[in-house]
Amino acid sequence: MNYWEIFKKGIFEMNPIFRLALSLCPALAVTSNVFNALGMGFVVMFVITANNIVVSLVRDYVNPKVRVPVFITIIATIVTLTQLILEGYFPEVNKELGLYLELVVVFAIILARAEVFAMKNTVVPSFFDGLGMGVGFAVAMVFIGAVRELLGPGTFLGYQVLPASYDGPLIMILAPGAFLVIGLMIGMFNVIGEHQAKQAELKRRAATAAGLVVQRSEA
């Protein structure tokens, strides 16, 4: 598998939220507007990539029996460092995301990638795996955030998009609205995924059929 394939699979095929259905909690909690969703997406992208790098570097020294606590410690360290740096030098960003930063430690997707990928691979593939998964997560968060912000308050990134008289359903900015949006989107992604699988199957059949024809003509 080349690096592009490793990177790409996190965005669609194995999208953390829409295909793997991991880390749904932040997908519910932080997507009531696009700005928060985007901020959270970036933080997770950074943490998951950094964690994959660290885990792939130290994997030979980690005793397999305590790998999960060790991974959690590494993730917690990265998150704490991020928090300290944001607090000191980017107070505006820290103000918006401060609440959710600590939650990043327990995101299932980060631990899952450490366990499934970084523990078994070298630094470079782990970097691309983390980046791909992070981008996939961020894209999914922004998707959900955009739908909720548009339908709820009728804005996008804080700018009024729909006419000011639009009085959106309150449910969209509350947790149940997030459930609805995520559910429908997972459904949509499954339909697209099935369609793609079908196309690939048809192509494969066509190829073998063509192969048979060639063989026959040769015979």
């Binding site: 009531s32 020294y61 005793n63 029996k65 607090e87 000191g88 107070p91």
Partner: protein
């Protein structure tokens, strides 16, 4: 993983040492970073607080900490205290809402600023918007009651965020009462 799974490597002591070493390294890294970033973070906190006070009491020339009252500041103009900036808090829908309230010496509210909260985005967090905030200006403690139908004397609750509205109002009212009591004591 490259190292074997033999019994020697999996003794309790080795496992414990592995984890302890991880925690130790992590602790060292965090402590080192903290030592570097803390001065910057402290400067940011002081700046944020000064900015917040200046925003609340625009006319003041300087701010002076009040002895014996933790976190209280007096906004001074021409040698006279024109306003007090005091910490206020209320129990919101999702935890404590921390605010700074600016109160005139006669107990009338000037404005308030929310420092920290965890209210629902899109509902409760509208408490920071001028539409809700401006209702407080010029009111004293007795005029602050949360209602759903607006009058001049009261505070109209935010739609879908009655608990938040009450929390903010209670916090600000307590601050107003405290300042009124304090400045009454000063005059004696």
């Amino acid at each position: 993983m490259a190292h074997g799974h033999d019994d020697k490597n999996n003794s309790v002591i080795r496992i414990a040492m592995n984890l302890a070493l991880t925690c130790f390294i992590s602790g060292v890294i965090i402590a080192g970073t903290f030592a570097i970033t803390e001065p910057a973070a402290e400067a940011q906190r002081i700046k944020a607080k000064n900015d917040a006070m200046r925003e609340l009491v625009k006319d003041a020339d300087s701010f002076k900490a009040i002895d014996g009252k933790d976190g209280w500041y007096a906004g001074i103009k021409g040698g006279k205290a024109i306003a007090y900036v005091v910490p206020a808090q209320g129990k919101g829908y999702a935890g404590v809402i921390q605010m700074l309230a600016a109160v005139a010496p006669d107990g009338k509210i000037l404005d308030y600023k929310v420092l920290k909260h965890a209210e629902t985005p899109g509902l409760g967090d509208k408490m920071t918007e001028p539409k809700f905030r401006n209702q407080f200006a010029g009111k004293t403690a007795k005029d602050m009651e949360v209602v759903k139908v607006p009058t001049d004397k009261n505070i109209q609750a935010l739609t879908g965020a009655t608990i938040t509205s009450r929390a903010v109002t209670n916090g600000v009212r307590e601050a107003a009462e405290a300042v009124a009591a304090y400045s009454a004591g000063q005059k004696k």
